[in-house]
Amino acid sequence: MQVNRRQFFKICSAGLGGSSIAMLGYSPTAALAEVRDYKLARATETRNMCPYCSVSCGVLAYSIGDKSKNAKAEIIHMEGDPDNPVNRGTLCPKGAGLLDMVHSPNRLKYPEVREAGSNEWKRISWDEAITRITKHMKADRDANFIEKNAEGTTVNRWNTFGFLASSAAANEPGYLTSKVLRGLGVVALDTQARI
């Protein structure tokens, strides 16, 4: 009979004992309510601009590292620039998702070529890419450049080569593109702006 009673108490107190032990310090202290650390506290801020529509919202790009020599800047967040008079810190769903554009898995990372009839991309070096492209261009230009038209007017055009220019490039590369193409004699030239 005595055994039975002891047994019972053992069973019943197991829970209580356990919990008491837990409360005496075997359990971790209940975590204090702490908000997530503000992730930009030590990020580097760069003033930039959304590349999508023509509102050209000011954005602040935040990158890890302080742009010191050994720290590779990686953009971790973008939000609206509150100083910009047009967007005043706001962004649309496209702008608010810019980070995923910068880090899109579909970004091109190195030059590639797809040979005639091939079903594959092949990685090539920049040097090879520029060499092969300019060889094509020079052969094309030398073969098809028109110095004078039928009436004998100097026209200096190369119209077997065409160029569609980006509307997302900045003004400076845009101007340079214009300058280079006119220099080459290109007339088949258009931009996204038309359509």
């Binding site: 009979m1 039975n4 009673r5 047994q7 019972f8 069973i11 019943c12 197991a14 829970g15 356990g18 919990s19 837990a22 409360m23 075997y26 359990s27």
Partner: protein, 206 residues
């Protein structure tokens, strides 16, 4: 092992094992369940490796217990059919609690109280199982209204069940010579004759 051949076999080893599987499960469930029920009991969850473990384990233990409870139910259901005598016993349970069992009617293997306990447990267990499934977020996602109802039913049924089991355990302690029946299966003849005379007669033929 039967040390005293005169003792009476009350439970087979299978029955005892079944009971304790359910019993241990229930204790674990009660401890982990209480942890979710009231902040004062939350530290009980550390017995299981923390709140998350308690949350993960509780429903599995519940299903495990339910399975063995069904076996137990099948074993004992016929023995727990209520009779007129049981009802009379129950009507006079006050005298029993008061410590005066002299005038209690003669009882079979189980008295009215035990039978009532059995059926109450069955009801609670069904409620717990069904409501438990409803609130098992990791596995099921029923309509939110049902989940809310489930949560209340689970809590109420669990509290009732805990109370029942406390009474069940206390009764076993209070009535000396009882617990051994669930430990090693036998009771003394005197115990049997005192508490379950009809059963005593039945097994001894006296």
């Amino acid at each position: 092992m039967i040390r005293d051949p005169k003792d009476l076999q009350r439970y087979t080893p299978q029955e005892r094992a079944n009971h304790w599987v359910v019993g241990i499960s229930f204790i674990l469930l009660a401890l982990s369940g209480l942890a979710f029920f009231h902040p004062a009991f939350y530290p009980l969850s550390y017995l299981f490796g923390g709140g998350t473990w308690a949350r993960i384990l509780h429903p599995y233990i519940g299903v495990f217990m339910a399975f063995f409870f069904v076996l137990m139910f099948l074993r004992f259901r016929m023995l727990n059919v209520m009779t007129k005598t049981d009802k009379e016993w129950l009507s006079r349970v006050g005298e029993m609690v008061d410590g005066d069992d002299h005038n209690m009617p003669e009882q079979g293997k189980y008295n009215g109280g035990q039978k009532a306990m059995f059926w109450a447990s069955v009801v609670c267990m069904v409620l717990l199982l069904v409501s438990g499934v409803l609130i098992w977020q990791a596995q099921f996602s029923p309509p939110i209204g049902l989940v809310r109802l489930g949560a209340v039913v689970h809590a109420v049924a669990a509290v009732a069940m805990i109370a029942l089991i406390l009474i069940h355990a206390y009764a076993a302690i209070w009535v000396k010579g009882t617990i051994r029946a669930m430990w090693y299966g036998t009771v003394t003849r005197a115990w049997a004759k005192q508490h379950h005379r009809a059963w005593y007669r039945e097994v001894t033929g006296k």
